[in-house]
């Protein structure tokens, strides 16, 4: 078969809803696109551990301290699973990890921002995990089969995280004025980054990942699902939204396109977010000063005297 025939056959398969395995023939653009996408997801799980990790020492009770530690551990575990899937597409975990530390690959925008207090844990655990779950659930039907298999496990753990985040939020919402203020203040800072999280409007004609059904839904479609699901809940708890304020149009909660300032997201895409360099450099410093750990793992053991 010629390349064109293979490509046509591949397109037909994907169009018909067939799933692609790592060992199947696939166009280079598909392989590269899926690799980059899963690599970014894995990077985001690693870097996503850090904001919550920064709040972990301040956990207000023993129970919260343990459950938050367990949740962060799950996230690192997700990164392990995802890197494994990405590796089969032709890039080693070490290379992916080193690219991440060198700032040469990307991770989700929300993990470039600082955290200040326990209200951040509530917003991250409920709304940001809620947003992530909307996007991840949509990927369960992705055309790349190995990805969907790990996503199934990740999504079921994320459901538990979401409940954890919801509990923390409800405690703050039903707590003292100060606790309510903690949540509101965190929400004010996080709302725009959450809106950015889904990305700008998809370019359906140009987006190869949509074309090959690696992604099954557009950014704006996912953002809309999130808004419709969470805006009523946040409102019901008596909290308010900063710009871009969602407004009810018909039965959909809509944020006006002109209310969204995309400049912060553009900076983050160049790895110039508020916390990008500090978080990367801390992890990089440990990595660089601990080469001996990796050497101990990789060298064959020799018996000391």
């Amino acid at each position: 078969m010629s390349y064109e025939e293979k490509l046509e056959e591949f397109n037909r398969r994907v169009e018909a809803g067939d799933k692609v395995e790592a060992s199947d023939w696939m166009p280079d653009d598909y392989r590269r696109g899926v690799l980059k996408f899963i690599e970014m997801h894995a990077n985001s799980e690693i870097m996503g551990a850090l904001p919550e990790r920064e709040c972990l020492p301040k956990a207000p009770t023993l129970k919260r301290k343990m459950s938050l530690a367990a949740k962060i551990q799950d996230e690192i575990g997700h990164a392990q699973l995802l890197y494994r899937v990405a590796e089969d597409l032709g890039k080693s975990r070490t290379a992916m990890y080193e690219d991440l530390l060198a700032g040469e690959s990307k991770f989700h925008n929300v993990f470039h921002y600082p955290v200040h207090h326990w209200g951040d844990v509530a917003v991250i655990g409920w709304l940001i995990d809620g947003a992530a779950l909307v996007t991840q659930a949509a990927l369960l039907d992705s055309s790349y089969a190995p990805y969907t298999r790990v996503l199934k496990r990740i999504c079921s753990e994320e459901q538990l995280h979401l409940r954890h985040g919801e509990h923390i939020t409800l405690q703050l919402a039903s707590g003292t004025d100060y606790q309510r203020e903690m949540f509101q203040e965190a929400l004010n800072r996080w709302w725009l980054p959450i809106i950015h999280f889904f990305g700008p409007r998809s370019n359906v004609a140009k987006d190869l990942l949509l074309h090959w059904k690696v992604k099954t839904r557009t950014n704006e479609d996912l953002r809309q699902e999130f808004l419709d699901r969470y805006v009523p809940k946040v409102t019901e708890l008596g909290f308010s939204f900063p710009t871009p304020v969602p407004r009810l149009k018909g039965d959909a909660w809509v944020v006006a396109a002109e209310d969204i300032d995309w400049a912060p997201l553009d900076a983050i895409k160049k790895n110039r977010g508020p916390e990008t360099q500090r978080r990367l450099s801390r992890r990089r410093a440990v990595y660089d000063s601990h080469r001996w750990v990796r050497e101990a793992l990789s060298e064959p053991a020799v018996h000391a005297a």
Binding site: K58, Q73, V293, A296
Partner: protein, 277 residues
């Protein structure tokens, strides 16, 4: 009897909480992704054990476990200074993890014979979980000690920093006489220290690590162990603290590293001690 039990269990609980807190700080920054996960697991176990110990105290005194963990003043904590040290290099954390879990195993084996049935039962349960911590620590010490020279050198340096401070895990406890009279512990802290020291030295020897380097430190710690809490407290000036590091945790004397840890760890709880979180 009640004060004796509270004194003993507070020391145990505070050790577990504080070392668990330190272990959890590796999450997100470990030199190897697998160790992010492993140290987090161990941290969760240790904090869980602290919670179980605090519950035991709460039953006796009517206070809450969260108050015990997060609501006390720094001088009320009875953890050994060894547990509160910053993580430093990963070799330091690894050696501390190995020494601590070896010491904890010695301690838990004794506690299984405690006259307090709840404490004995708890010790039996914990010792089962702690087995996995020891397996993890042993595997790493073995691996690094048999590996390239840099790792081995770092282990030896870390042992030099850690060993004397680890012995202070067995400093005399407040109300120790009463603890022994009531058989809450079947033998004295100094007897346990001897068991720990013998075991650690012999295992280090098996790893091909030079345990004798630490003899000097060992002796000075032995000497201090016989001091009363008051004596230790009177030696608080900076020069003697650096000459004899890591002593005094059992009497509520802590390092600046603890003050910073305490400040952060209790900050949210202190905002609103009565709030539900």
């Amino acid at each position: 009897m009640k004060e004796a039990l509270v004194s003993l269990v507070t020391a145990l609980a505070d050790d577990e909480l504080i070392i668990g807190h330190r272990h959890s700080e590796w999450t997100g920054f470990a030199p190897h992704i697998e160790e992010d996960v492993a140290f987090s697991s161990i941290a969760q176990d240790e904090i869980g054990h602290a919670a179980a110990y605090y519950s035991l105290i709460a039953e006796v005194t009517g206070t809450s476990p969260d108050h015990m963990a997060l609501g006390r003043e720094p001088f009320e904590y009875r953890n050994a200074v060894f547990c509160e040290r910053l993580n430093r290099d990963w070799s330091y954390s690894l050696v501390r993890h190995w020494l601590y879990d070896t010491a904890d195993d010695v301690r838990l084996a004794a506690l299984q014979e405690s006259a307090d049935a709840s404490l004995a039962a708890l010790a039996t349960k914990m010792r089962r979980e702690e087995r996995y911590h020891l397996l993890h620590a042993n595997a790493w010490i073995k691996r690094v000690s048999e590996g390239p020279v840099e790792g081995r050198t770092r282990l030896i340096d870390a042992l030099g920093m850690c060993y004397a401070e680890a012995l202070a895990l067995f400093d005399i406890l407040e109300f120790e006489d009463s603890i022994l009279e009531n058989n809450l512990l079947p033998c004295s802290s100094s007897e346990l220290r001897g068991r720990f020291s013998m075991r650690a030295t012999s295992e280090l020897d098996d790893f091909g690590l030079p345990a004798d380097v630490h003899r000097d430190l060992d002796d000075s710690a032995e000497f201090l162990a016989s001091s009363s809490g008051d004596l230790i407290a009177s030696e608080k000036d900076a020069s003697s603290a650096s000459a004899r590091p890591g002593i005094g945790g059992r009497a509520g004397m802590h390092s600046d590293e603890f003050k910073a840890l305490w400040d952060e760890m209790t900050s949210t709880h202190r905002l609103h001690p009565e709030a539900q979180w």
